[in-house]
Amino acid sequence: MQAKEDPALHSRRSLTLRFDIPTSKTKEFWEALKQGRFVTTRCAKCGHVSFPPQSDCPKCMGGEFSWTDLGPDAKVVTFTHVQITPASFVDNDPYIIAICEFAGGPKVLAWLEGVDLPKVKPGMPVKVAARASAEGNPYYVFVPA
């Protein structure tokens, strides 16, 4: 270990990055979510269902697709409880993150709310629910079924 008192240039310039991420290709997902529906894309050519939704098929590269309902029922595949959070989440209490699988369909990662850690088990039935951030951004969480 080095001495903490090693000389350093404490930079007087900060670099702050905050991105505007295009959502034209997934706007139906976010709009359905605002109405409480959880949908994703199904390839018109090969039938592959993707999550996250994408307008180009990763299996056959086809560009034709339809939106299909996924929710709300799913079950927990795996999970964790995050106690040391990133800088941009310092105002959050520790949160449970779970990967949950929809019946016969894709898996989705999100917060699992409304349950204490010791009660969470793989296989636990959950349902997906819509939320909005304080800024009005839509997102989704899982809650016990």
């Binding site: 996250p52 595949v77 409880h81 040391i84 990133p86 800088a87 990662l109």
Partner: protein, 386 residues
């Protein structure tokens, strides 16, 4: 493909290196590697720098490092494969030789991770998956990524928190034998088990630290290698693979498909089987990662990783000694440096120059396993004395 050998190695002390900037840190390894190779610096036609970047002030690290080290007008680039950036640099430098571009090339791995505060580091690593779908709203962290695997592995195979802590105890034991390691003190199972919870069930002692460090290797074509050294270590076979950015798209959470694929390709290319490996470095950014690596690399069957650590099979004297340099856990994990550091370690082992942590070398074969992210990338390299 022409054969390529490691002919020179260099390695800085890993740790909190507030005494050097990124170029000074890289130079420590570059100088050693050049001197160890016996090559004239002007023979080196390509320098490939492996660094994830973002943690330190310089955004063109390859250029800053080459300027500092006096590599004027050398062919160069930076490569990134997350925590496998170092292996990607070794690969690109080796391909530069095998393709005929140059006879001698250098791969330098470096990261300087302690110039920002810890929670910014947590943020930088957490963003390295699918930002939009798994970070923006959910604040994934690196421990959380691996905790999702740990929970699944525990649930399916009965792996325990104690099994994971055993990996940490082993790592710190070997770290205590490596003067370049970040942590050089042994720890007890109780200390590991009782450490702060980071992302349940992973605790502070399940995780590698944030580190500064560098490593470098000089590589040469068969003809050049034979002129430079009597102890070349050959790149016998390599395998690379990758997996989805979104963890939700993975098939399961009990192993890394990218590691399985990469190791099968490396074994195939080198005509080596796991039982021929004398010594290995496995990517143990978290203790669960080392246990999964035993399984994914075919050192044992799927689900038996915990048994291997319990039985001491990966200790010095065991069936396949793993991470005798302390591993990422105790040696430290300066992201871009790690893959090159592993190559340095296995080269020294195969040269019988590993000092206090030297493994017995029977078949002359060592293996480097380096994972980027949570199996977003995997690079496996089989090295051989002949």
């Amino acid at each position: 493909m022409g054969r390529v050998a490691v002919v020179g190695v260099g390695h800085s002390r890993f740790g909190r290196r507030t005494d050097v900037n990124v170029a000074e840190l890289a130079f420590e390894s570059i100088k050693q590697a050049v001197e160890d190779s016996g090559a004239d610096r002007r023979q080196i036609g390509t320098v490939v720098v492996g660094s994830a970047g973002g943690w330190y002030e310089e955004s063109l690290p390859a250029v800053i490092i080459n300027e500092y080290a006096g590599f004027d007008s050398v062919g160069t680039m930076r490569v990134e494969a997350a925590c496998a950036s170092g292996s990607a640099a070794v690969r690109a430098a080796a391909n530069s030789i095998a393709s005929g571009e140059t006879d001698v090339a250098m791969a330098v791995g470096v990261e300087k991770m302690t110039e920002v505060d810890t929670l910014t580091s947590v943020e930088l690593i957490g963003r390295a998956g699918s930002y939009t779908w798994e970070f923006e709203n959910y604040g994934m962290t690196f421990p959380a990524y691996y905790a999702l695997y740990a929970v699944s592995h525990m649930s399916r195979f009965g792996t325990t928190e104690e099994d994971m802590s055993r990996v940490a105890v082993k790592a710190h034991h070997y770290g205590s034998l490596n003067p370049l390691a970040q942590f050089q003190k042994e720890i007890t199972l109780e200390k590991a088990l009782g450490s702060q919870m980071v992302s349940w069930p992973l605790k502070l002692y399940d995780a590698c630290p944030l580190s500064d460090g560098s490593a470098a290797v000089v590589l040469a074509s068969e003809e050049a290698a034979k002129k430079l050294t009597d102890t070349p270590v050959w790149i016998k076979g390599t395998g690379y693979s990758s997996d989805s950015a979104n963890l939700s798209r993975r098939d399961d959470y009990v192993g890394l498909r990218a590691s399985v694929d990469a190791s099968r390709r490396a074994y195939g290319a080198s005509k080596v089987t796991p039982d021929m490996v004398d010594v290995a470095t496995c990517h143990d950014c978290f203790t669960i990662a080392e246990l999964m690596a035993y399984e994914d690399l075919g050192f044992c069957k799927k689900g038996e990783g915990a048994k291997m650590i319990r039985d001491g099979e990966t200790e010095l004297g065991g069936r396949i000694p793993v991470n005798l340099d302390g591993g990422l856990k105790a040696k430290g994990h300066p992201i871009g440096a790690t893959g090159v550091s592993m190559t340095v370690e296995i080269t020294k082992q195969l040269r019988n120059e590993a000092g206090k942590h030297q493994a017995p070398i029977k078949n002359g074969i060592g293996l480097v396993h380096n994972v980027g992210g949570t199996g977003h990338y995997a690079y496996v390299t089989v090295l051989s004395r002949d």
